[in-house]
Symmetry: C2
Subunit: 335 residues, 2 copies
């Protein structure tokens, strides 16, 4: 079964993935920071016992059963938060086979339910999250206040407890230097945009995360509608910018050179890889390069440092990893 | 018929070509700087009438019949000196079909006879030059002094009038930073080494010209023997340095990337091309890349700026030329 990130979703020339996350807590327990390990473990098992019988694709993973490499790799794949890798005690993850559903237990809230879909697909990501939420609500006493909505440990999540986000690939707008202006515009609309891999670096592969900020006094539908509307505008803007850019032979040359380097390199860092694959991705969607986009999707996820180490089941040093990365890229691109 | 520079000669991993040049003057005429156009033309025709009947591969070209582009292209191919492109009056060139023999008339001396051979081949380059010299001597009054030897306009050529030189590809020694030390060593041995394309630039494709300096008080044989001895040492030194370098994955990566870029680029300057083809050439001779070395030889000559313009028969602007160069490189390398 293919992982979700290999699939090609709607508008995936610009939207790499859609994520909906719901924060939930159980009334019978105090918030996570007041919960001892024993109680945490009890909570974990009760969520497990509610969900696993309902969906055979789900599995339950004690975080303490994972190596550091495996945990960091999961964070690279956005299955868990970076913070969740720091400590394993009383923590467990419920994960679907294709990794589109991941539920962190005892992260900041008792339950952090996340659904990821390839491409631009807020509807089905939200639908799936809502289904699981309904199961949870039917079997557990989910903390909910008629006036405030869902109760969460941090007030920034109070209300819907929902964070919907889109991973956007914006190489042309980045090259035009319009991202920082964009950031200030979207913040006025209750959204936020930030680099998905390392703030402000040109080596983040031009990937940004656009998400809703407001959870209180707004319905899930409204929040999703706002996000969707802005995203549609950005998709158009990015597409137009790309059309312009690829008219420039220097940019076209950069696309082809990036492809040539990736097909032949014997040693490449993750940051350079992200820079080059970003250009190759534009080349694919602008019909310049004839490469199955699934290969690009797979590479973008699998060439991250810890994900390489997890696949190799050893702790490669950066220099060795750069060689292994080059070997894998050539294998996949047929260099 | 292939031009000489496409052929692969002996030791051509390091020695790109061998050149022997003889400076000769005719007693019946004053030196070139004292010679008016009419007399120059008369001299040109008399040399033509001596040589052309002896060798059907030779042709006679009035320099005034050539465009500036054609002349500069000839200088890029080392068929004429850069100085010879500046004025055409009273100048003519005798050129063999495969361009291994070129005879500049009324350059600094009446006759500047040059023979080029691919690879390391002082013997046959000298033999061919000597044959033509014998024809000239048998039919013309070549200026010769029993005590001094051949008389030349500039004293630095007095004696043998011979300059023998080798084009050396020394990428590994360049990378090791040993060239400037080498320059001072060879000068003590009566030789000189200098960048073949632009002094001291790292973008000269790591190509150097090693030649004899001394023409007076030394026989041709001795001069050739000295040059050959030093060249043999340099060949060994460069080969050993390469063996070391290609053990380094970063260097190996540079070779492969250079190849990947050349195969895919849409726009490339001459200096970058020279830098990359230098690495590719190492890759070919170290059995890393499987490319017919004739393709590399052809590219190295044909991608020079004026040679491109001459082939296109138009005066392309640098930016257009960089695109054309990329197109040609891809065609030849099959990118």
């Amino acid at each position: 079964m293919n992982k979700w990130y290999i699939e090609q979703g709607k508008d995936s020339d610009v939207v790499l993935s859609t994520r909906v996350r719901l924060a939930r807590n159980i009334e019978d327990y105090p918030f996570v920071n007041k919960l001892d390990t024993e109680k945490r473990n009890e909570l974990n098992k009760s969520v497990r016992d509610v969900l696993l019988p309902e969906d055979s694709s789900l599995s339950y993973i004690e975080m303490s059963s994972l190596s550091d490499i495996q945990k960091i790799s999961m964070a690279e794949r956005h299955l868990i938060s970076p913070e969740y890798t720091s400590s394993s005690e009383g923590r467990a993850l419920i994960l679907s086979e294709n990794e589109d559903v991941s539920i962190m237990l005892n992260e900041e809230d008792h339950i952090r339910l996340q659904v990821i879909k390839a491409g631009f697909d807020l509807e089905s990501a939200y639908k799936k999250a809502d289904e699981i939420d309904n199961i949870l609500s039917s079997k557990l006493n989910i903390a909910f206040d008629e006036r405030l909505g869902f109760l969460t440990q941090c007030v920034t999540n109070l209300g819907t407890g929902m964070r919907a986000s889109l991973m956007l690939h914006l190489p042309a707008m980045t090259k035009q230097g319009v991202i920082s202006r964009l950031a200030s515009t979207v913040s006025k609309l209750g959204l936020t945009i930030r680099g998905a891999y390392g703030e402000g670096s040109s080596h983040n592969g031009d990937i940004y995360q656009l998400s809703n900020q407001i959870t209180l006094g707004i319905s899930e539908k409204e929040a999703l509608f706002n996000l969707e509307s802005i995203a549609k505008q950005l998709i158009e803007q990015e597409r137009n910018a790309r059309k312009e850019l690829v008219e420039d032979v220097s940019y076209l040359d950069n696309i082809w050179r990036s492809y040539g380097i990736l097909k032949h390199t014997r040693k490449i860092s993750c940051s350079e890889f992200m820079e080059l694959i970003s250009l190759v991705r534009v080349g694919v969607f602008e019909n310049i390069l004839d490469i199955d986009v699934k290969k690009i999707n797979e590479l973008t996820v699998c060439m991250q440092p810890a994900t390489i180490n997890a696949a190799r089941q050893e702790n490669l040093q950066p220099a060795q990893r750069d060689i292994y990365r080059a070997d894998e890229i050539r294998k996949i691109l047929g260099g």
